[in-house]
């Protein structure tokens, strides 16, 4: 074997030594996406906090916590149903895994509808991206951009749940794919835990 062959073999061995951290590639890719997305949300929330802290007449338009509490409950519950779906998939129970994945998607749809209803109520009260009846116009821009970004993630998650669920049932996807999607769904839930106190609860009228 020539020196060149040995060098080539060494390179190949280095490239095929296995995925980083012994994590399957799809799962590692999802984790890297989640880390990147964390930065996006963190930047939005910090910018929001910066504006809120630096603006004298910041509005407090929320009178009730009922809607946001219900939305939080639904999203947290959807994380649990996602876990049950994954557990069923790992146990090889395809029907149950499909059912729980669809239940998770349904809860995501309910969450999105509640969110849209809340948006429409605020718009009815005169809130837009640039003005509102309560104080600085910056509130509308930051509220709609942060909750809109989150709602976009929920919508994409629901579509992904439907696609992956159906393809898993059809045998094209495996339990690992449900696990990767589950990571995304739990992340969407995790972000909501920061959006609720910063955007809703701190702007509650007492």
């Amino acid at each position: 074997m020539s020196q060149a062959d040995l060098t080539m073999e060494g390179h190949s061995a280095g490239l095929t030594v296995g995925p980083a951290f012994s994590i399957p590639t799809k799962k590692l890719a999802m984790w890297l996406f989640i880390i990147a997305d964390t930065m996006t949300f963190a930047a939005c929330l910090v910018a929001y906090g910066f504006l809120r802290n630096g603006t004298a007449n910041w509005p407090r338009p929320f009178h009730s916590i009922t809607n946001v509490a219900l939305m939080t409950f639904i999203l947290l519950t959807s994380s649990l149903t996602m876990l049950i779906g994954l557990r069923s998939a790992r146990a090889g129970d395809k029907a149950a895994a499909f059912r729980w994945t669809m239940i998770t998607a349904a809860l995501g749809i309910v969450f999105a509808l509640l969110h849209i209803r809340e948006w429409l109520e605020l718009i009815d009260q005169g809130m837009t991206l640039f003005k509102n009846p309560w104080g600085t116009g910056l509130f509308g821009a930051s509220f709609f951009s942060i909750t809109g970004l989150h709602l976009t993630h929920v919508t994409c998650g629901v579509i992904a749940l439907l696609v992956v669920g159906v393809r898993y049932k059809g045998g094209r996807y495996k339990a690992d794919d449900i696990e990767v999607l589950g990571l995304y769904w739990h992340f969407v839930d995790l972000v909501w835990m920061f959006v609720v106190p910063l955007v809703y609860l701190l702007n509650l009228t007492h």
């Binding site: 880390i35 963190a42 910066f50 630096g54 004298a56 994380s79 649990l80 557990r87 995790l190 509650l204």
Partner: protein
């Protein structure tokens, strides 16, 4: 997959416990919202609860606890470093409201 066997062996009990803890912590945030304290105290308390919630969700719902420790540290160190880096502007945001003549932009 390393976590697959652990999923099977742990059962749903742990997930339920974490779920109930998350619900309770979310409830605590709502209780804090109705406390008679100033905004900065409220913000600090709510943020601390949110961080605990996020840690629970990442470690147990996202199974980070079951991954290799090197990966756990990789995620935690990179994320926390950037999140801390984002905090440098707070003093300036306070200046905007207290430091004339540049304060109170509308």
């Amino acid at each position: 997959m390393t976590t697959a066997e652990e999923h099977k062996s742990n059962g749903i009990g742990k997930d339920l416990v974490v779920y109930i803890c998350l619900l309770a912590l979310a409830g605590v945030q709502f209780v804090i919202a109705y406390q008679n304290i100033d905004a900065s105290q409220m913000f600090t308390r709510m943020l601390l609860v949110a961080i605990v919630e996020a840690a629970l969700a990442m470690l147990f719902f996202m199974h980070l606890w079951s991954e290799k420790r090197a990966f756990l540290w990789f995620v935690v160190i990179f994320t926390v470093a950037v999140l801390l880096g984002l905090q440098y502007g707070w003093t300036d945001s306070t200046r905007m409201i207290t430091g004339a003549p540049y304060s109170k932009f509308q």
